[in-house]
Symmetry: C2
Subunit: 483 residues, 2 copies
């Protein structure tokens, strides 16, 4: 499905054949947990919510589907459809959808300007976002910080280009938003020189776990590696193209960036030295996913996109890809869903600070579960982002489960000096215990034993301020519901 | 192969058919890394080392195979063939083997006395090890501590029953010992009441990550859960049988054990309350493996079996099972290999303190790589236990890479208050960087980028004093050698 990647000006409809594909693809991709659960608990999902009837893709067209119909919206990435570096409960939605609707969303990597020739040039959407001349930027605010910050508007306190927000009609605090990832495709380079290829950037950056702890000098160097991904989908691996050491970059407003301290600074390639004999013959398995995806938190009006939190955000788990579903606790009216930080591949820990940061387009189905319908279902009491893949439940622990509430008014700055993997493991333990005790109705001693013999705890990331540990448990170990 | 599990008194030989199976099984189980590597580096493994010709299994019979022959030894578990709770470079070897020989080794879980009816009774080997009456114990020393320790001889400073040591002829410090795990089978209950079944114990113990951090009272409880494993190999899952809270146990010498503070204390089942309606219908995937396996360290004569170290030991990684190979740096003459702490299943982190502790029998091939042959091969400079599975390289980081050398004379006690996952991740980062730079000849910047996009860091265990983080990288990402 979605063999054709729409451009921002694309107005064609989705064909009836593709409609069918959408439904089939997801059904095959994984067994549906929630549908079973809802049926088991007596709250049948209405037939209308499961039937898919697409309206013509229409950016921000407030389609008013009739009863029994769902809509399919298309949100291109452009200067008008993104928030750069923050979540905001009060941002103007780019589209308002009903529960059950589909949304195809373009996302841009905030590292595209590391090689603008390959990742920006000729791409109208990316050009509108990354535009920056001596008088203005396509998107001025980058981050939740002050607009007069020396480094640039928004202070770079938050870096991810998040497309959205999408307002889900009727969503309120206490509800759960289910996000099904139907499809993920790379965004091809729009530069004719690189036809059929897509590119990503990996920055071994100053916030990386390795920074300052290197064998060779200078120990505090930042290195950008450009990777190539096959945009046609024929190859399931990426390869390195070249790398370079970051050199101080002067942005079009005249501010010098000695390190990667502000997102989207155009890298002047005449100031860098490219090494192209790197990682020769090495094939990186591709794991396309969204590093940052979630709903707006309630605790502040404008929240940096960097530390993940109870509402999701920058979880940076490579398992959040095609066929996966994430359940988020809704914290504000409309939920205000947005997505960004697309990755072609990442390892658990995201050690050097970034993944292969590579623009992607995703198709999502958004399903709202109202608070009143939750008791007795596995989503009751869910207060963190829960991931379901084909085979596993994946729970996300953080050093601070809700750092905005726990660390006080300066939380968005304070979090960076307070995280540890040990704390994140503690939180993941608490969450997995709760999950087993509520959704599987186990006693505490049963849950603790099971965690030691059948749950795998891994390091999600140690580079996002609020560090993460995920806990993975196989769905197959649990008895069929109702048995 | 090895459909028949030998008993300690078993003297029959391995049939020619089984010989062939041994070779085939391992060949199919994974691609051989080292053979390729050795050939590539010009150091061909001699044809004789690859040809397998078994002599009759003979415990401690110093077979003297002729040129081109390898031997197959059988080491039953008994009071005379185990060290309980420690590694020792000066212990008397139970057998001396040549490089390339096969050894089938019985291992006993030190938790068998949690349910002696199921895991000890009628089993001559286990009975000889666990024997304990008012006058004597089958194995008196349990741990590397003082013999007059109040809690019992050896102080429980080390708890695992390790079968061995096996002396490898010609092994010296600086060499590498390759241990191929050819087969792993559960040890069936010898009690006729439980024919065809095997059992294991999971103790949510005072050294667990959860201890004192529970929802229900008493927060500092210890809970033992008994699991059943199918000994016939027909089922690939385990199920819980019952659990009980640990109550103070008086050992046959009259010492009271208020907690699990000494290994092998017989649990008097008249003092406990069994709950048998637990984990109903839940199927735990079986992952048989050896929690503790390694060679003797050089730093002390007697070293507790609990914290893992550069020589391996209690790594507690469930990937160390059938088809896997571990490479250990040899630290003392003869290498002094031993194995114990058998597990039917464990999750990454081993959160509550133990796995499904279940007696197993393993067949291993031991191959010595002399120091002089290492330069130019992937094993050059290897100073930690390296695991190879069918698909992956798995490197083991610890809070302290060599805690015995780093923490001074009191290291064996001091380690328990000094570990963190963060430190173990730091060590795993250093080791993976070294691995990529030496075995794959990458520059530091290439290695660091690759680690962030293609290496998964997971939490091995947080309950063994010296905490562990493993780094997993797929073998398939690397180009074929010589290309």
């Amino acid at each position: 499905m979605l063999k054709h990647i729409c451009s921002p000006t694309c107005t064609h409809g989705v064909s009836p054949e593709d409609e069918k594909d959408v439904k089939e693809e997801f059904k095959v991709a994984r067994r549906s947990f929630l549908r079973d659960a809802m049926v088991a608990s007596g709250t049948a999902v209405s037939a209308s919510a499961l039937s898919v009837s697409m309206t013509p893709s229409a950016f921000a067209a407030s389609a008013k589907p009739g009863s029994g119909m769902t809509s399919h919206y298309y949100i291109p990435a452009s200067a008008n459809t993104v928030l750069w570096g923050y979540f905001s409960k009060s941002a103007k939605p780019v589209v308002t959808v009903e529960s059950g609707d589909f949304v195809t969303i373009e996302t841009l990597t905030h590292h595209a300007n590391d090689d603008a020739e390959r990742m920006v040039r000729g791409d109208a959407g990316a050009e509108s976002v990354f535009h920056w001349d001596s008088t203005k930027k396509g998107v001025n605010r980058r981050g939740a910080g002050p607009m007069d910050a020396k480094v640039g508007a928004g202070g770079g306190q938050g870096v991810h280009i998040c497309t959205g927000p999408v307002h889900i009609k009727g969503a309120e605090a206490g509800d759960i938003l289910e996000v099904r990832i139907i499809d993920v495709t790379p965004r091809p380079s729009a530069n004719p020189l690189y036809k059929g290829r897509a590119f990503g950037s990996n920055a071994a950056a100053n916030w990386g776990f390795h920074y300052g702890d290197t064998l060779t000098e200078p120990k505090k160097r930042e290195v950008v590696t450009i990777y190539e991904v096959d945009a046609t989908g024929e190859r399931n691996w990426a390869r390195a193209v070249y790398n370079y050491k970051w050199t101080p970059q002067t942005d079009p407003f005249g501010v010098v960036h000695p390190t990667i301290d502000y997102p989207g600074v155009p890298v002047n390639h005449s100031t860098i030295t490219k090494n192209d004999k790197i990682l020769q013959n090495i094939r990186i398995p591709v794991r396309p996913h969204f590093g940052t995806m979630g709903v707006a938190p309630a605790e502040a009006d404008m929240v940096t996109s960097i530390p993940p939190n109870y509402t999701g955000g920058n979880i940076d788990n490579w398992r959040i890809g095609k066929g996966a579903t994430v359940y988020y606790p809704v914290a504000v009216p409309g939920a205000m869903f947005s997505v960004g930080d697309p990755h072609a591949s990442q390892g658990d820990s995201e050690l050097c600070g970034t993944a292969i940061e590579c623009s992607l387009t995703g198709t999502f189905q958004l399903i709202l579960h109202k608070k009143a319908s939750l008791p007795g279902t596995p989503l009751a009491e869910l207060n963190y982002p829960l991931l379901e893949t084909q085979d596993d439940w994946v729970l996300h622990g953080f050093s601070y489960a809700n750092y905005l509430a726990e660390l006080g008014p300066d939380a968005q700055n304070a979090i960076y000096s307070k995280s540890s993997v040990d704390l994140a493991l503690r939180d993941a333990y608490h969450k997995m215990r709760h999950f087993l005790m509520t959704t599987q109705r186990l006693g505490e001693d049963e849950a603790i034993s099971l965690m030691s013999i059948a749950v795998d705890f891994g390091i999600t990331q140690v580079v996002d301020g609020n560090w993460g540990v995920h806990a993975v448990v196989k769905k197959s170990i649990f008895p069929a519901r109702g048995v």
